[in-house]
Symmetry: C2
Subunit: 162 residues, 2 copies
DNA sequence: GAATTAAGGATACATCATATCCGCAAATTG
DNA sequence: CAATTTGCGGATATGATGTATCCTTAATTC
């Protein structure tokens, strides 16, 4: 059970976009260079964010991406689900139905007890991600990243933001 | 991020093994028939349980599997990790290290803030699974499965348990 | 009009889940 | 002892999916 690397990419890109001044856009090219990622493939992850309405886009030179909402209104789960999908990690295939002792036509009223536990764990995972906002991440990063690096990075970004 | 179907298989098989009388074994063949699963492939899942010391095995006719500990000392996470592995679902590839603004030789003291959140969610998932014991599952099933089916299933099982 | 950008389709490749088959060693049965 | 049954591990095949690249199209800027 491994998350796509695109999840990591999307989260870091959103953290950068959160630092953009109002109304400016940052291109796939800049985001790819900043993180050392394959531009064309990163583009797919950003398209997922766009489809989920987490980011706005503009075409043409000086075009690119910006957040569609304030970073305090976007949480980790929004971003993770945009890239990874909303499907649960456990799917119940009802193998108990194959029990040769089972009377034909019998139908369970409740979902399988095994599945309920697995889904509960899935919900715990999602709830943790839901509780952390993108603005929280930016706050943590601004504290932990050395001030000079933080500043020089956003100078680098602003030079490329249209 | 999808769990292997073997996880579902292993959980249901353990629930059956938990109902075996002391000292009896149930074969892969019987477990596969009971759940309508491919015998050879189910065998791989059971081998994983064996390697994790969750079940004991015996060879020969009347051989097979039984739980290695009381069902109250086995939890969902034990079984899930035996099949799925213990690796975290999120791997941090440190893409921030590719930042062209970063001074060479710089080394983070802490793990990446993004990774910490993702790992926290992973822990929440694991904790939920850790809290549910196999004996809890058996208890729930014995309440929810119709009494006749429950009984006839274990008669079926006992006929095949060596 | 030329350059740049996001979007999306087509394609290639590697990895992994799924599945099957085989041979081996151990245990049981007769 | 001989035949059978079983778990175990290796080898192999296949399909789905993650990763990655390339190309075309439409929109935007200068």
């Amino acid at each position: 059970m491994i998350l796509k690397s695109q999840v990591e990419w999307a989260l870091h890109c959103c953290a950068i976009l959160a630092g953009l001044p109002e109304g400016r856009y940052l291109s796939t090219k800049a985001l790819a260079e900043l993180h050392g990622l394959p531009k064309e493939y990163l583009s797919k992850a950003l398209q997922s964010l766009s489809q989920a309405s987490l980011v706005d886009t503009t075409l043409g030179p000086s075009g690119g991406y910006r957040l569609a909402k304030p970073s305090s209104e976007i949480n980790f789960l929004d971003i993770v689900e945009a890239v990874e999908g909303k499907a649960r990690s456990f799917t119940c295939t009802n193998i108990r139905d194959n029990n040769p002792c089972r009377p034909a036509g019998y139908c369970d009223s409740k979902p399988c007890a095994v599945a309920r536990v697995m889904w509960e764990a899935d919900e715990a995972w999602r709830n943790t991600l839901r509780r952390v906002r993108l603005s929280d991440l930016v706050g943590t990063l601004s504290e932990e990243v050395p001030a000079e690096l933080w500043q020089s990075t956003f100078e680098w970004v602003l030079k490329r933001a249209g």
